[in-house]
Subunit: 320 residues, 2 copies
Amino acid sequence: MPQAALRGGIDLGGTKIQAIIADKDNNVLGQARRPTPTTGGPPDVIAALIEALEEAAEAASVAPDALTGIGVGAPGGIDEATGSLANAANLPDWRDPVPVAQLLGDRFGATVKLGNDVTVATQAEFTLGAAREFDSLLGVFWGTGVGGGIILDGRVWNGRGTSGEIGHIPVRHHGIRCPCGRHGCMEAYAGRRAMEQRAREAVDDGQHTDLFKIMEEKGRDRLTSGIWARAIDRGDELAESLIADAVEALGTAVASACNVLDPEAIVIGGGLGVRFGDPYARRIQDAMMPHLFHDDDPPVIRVAELGDLGGALGAALLVA
Amino acid sequence: MPQAALRGGIDLGGTKIQAIIADKDNNVLGQARRPTPTTGGPPDVIAALIEALEEAAEAASVAPDALTGIGVGAPGGIDEATGSLANAANLPDWRDPVPVAQLLGDRFGATVKLGNDVTVATQAEFTLGAAREFDSLLGVFWGTGVGGGIILDGRVWNGRGTSGEIGHIPVRHHGIRCPCGRHGCMEAYAGRRAMEQRAREAVDDGQHTDLFKIMEEKGRDRLTSGIWARAIDRGDELAESLIADAVEALGTAVASACNVLDPEAIVIGGGLGVRFGDPYARRIQDAMMPHLFHDDDPPVIRVAELGDLGGALGAALLVA
């Protein structure tokens, strides 16, 4: 018996692809995750998207061609009208536009829509997660980089396609270089990639840290959120110092964004945001207060509720 | 013969009250200006509002009771539903809510609406002025303080009543004290009041400047926009140095706001913004570029077109 309004949602990240099958009430019926191909270019990534969604459908005991719609959240330059993706810096050899919606639509016989990864994750927290009772929201996704999603009066605000770039709000005059090439951006202090770079430089300067020892113990090749959390638990001073810088930079930039938007709520998500949870959301709020104009009634600050599935659920909302 | 849809608009500022009479096409039929009372509390300010609007009506050859609506742009805490104003720091003894709409409505027999002064001035530039052809706009009002107005998809965004506070975006870590009490705010470097304070401190420290000599020549008791412009024309090094700091602070904070909003256009208004005009709008744009994320296609930046009447025209739009 065909089920009504089954949808697929895919969160296409630089590290992993998360796919889900959602029913009309946004219950997750099945899911699958696989690493994002690091070679092979767009064809291999498209193949991985298809496989992940097929696997999620199988987990949900749903025929792949039963999906009425598929949403994809992705980084990079999205043309919503054509459903193409270009200049995805974290995906292999992905510069020219690729008609992702058409390629997935041909395979599954469904309507496919693309959305910005941070925006759809913000929409998911707004509609289904930590910010359900609010009308305006700033989503703060603290991970490899730091992205922001904006919902005002219940509607996503995308600007001219590049809104919510809170990671690139300058927080230090003549500050350190950000992975984006600018100086003093919040992400230069708070992004996981930038924090790892700072840790490596500190080690080169002779400072002690257990961060890279923990990385080896865990068999990883980068400082994941879990490694940072482990180091903090062990009282690693360098890790605590870099995280303190990150929290202060986050507080400053999020306060700046709030001085502009004055939203009802802030949801902190992303790998680091979810891993560090409520105690760090409170530390970020404390770091905001000296710079927050509306400080007699600060926005409510919460940790993302949907965790790893938020991006894929938000993607599925694109075709709800 | 009664004229259709004549409206009054009043810009209630800390220094002056500007009133206009506008017809249905927003032509200004008459105007009047008077200083804002510095003593006497709300009753004297209300009396001055009434006199200014009566004088504007007389200049327009319109009977005061012919107005169908009156809009008032004001600083402070506005309750749009009740039309009351509270906590207007720049007005004498104005803390408790005063029913401004009711008091003016009783006098003129017209509908009266209150709006934030910066927001209505932004609306005026959006509807009638420098940003007519755009759908999204950041208004930057560079004067005694620095305020921001936001229009997205053609609609004002007020947040929870305190949006657009771009003057209090932090631009320097542990920066100088702002008139608001916080540290490192853009307004601490760029607001006219704060710049005057910096100039006085520099003189106390033995630095030379013609700023205060020009002030005496002009018979003023504060460093007006015109005095700053005159000093710059004379090559006054302290004035140029403080203005350079102001431009850099403006560029940093406006870029931060653009990284959040990604608007189509920016309009620079306010006493200093209008006085310094296009060359300084370009300097502000140059100062934005190192921090602007969407730098391959920066927002259009223009100087406000409506000049001193923008606030009053925007107020009249509240009842259009």
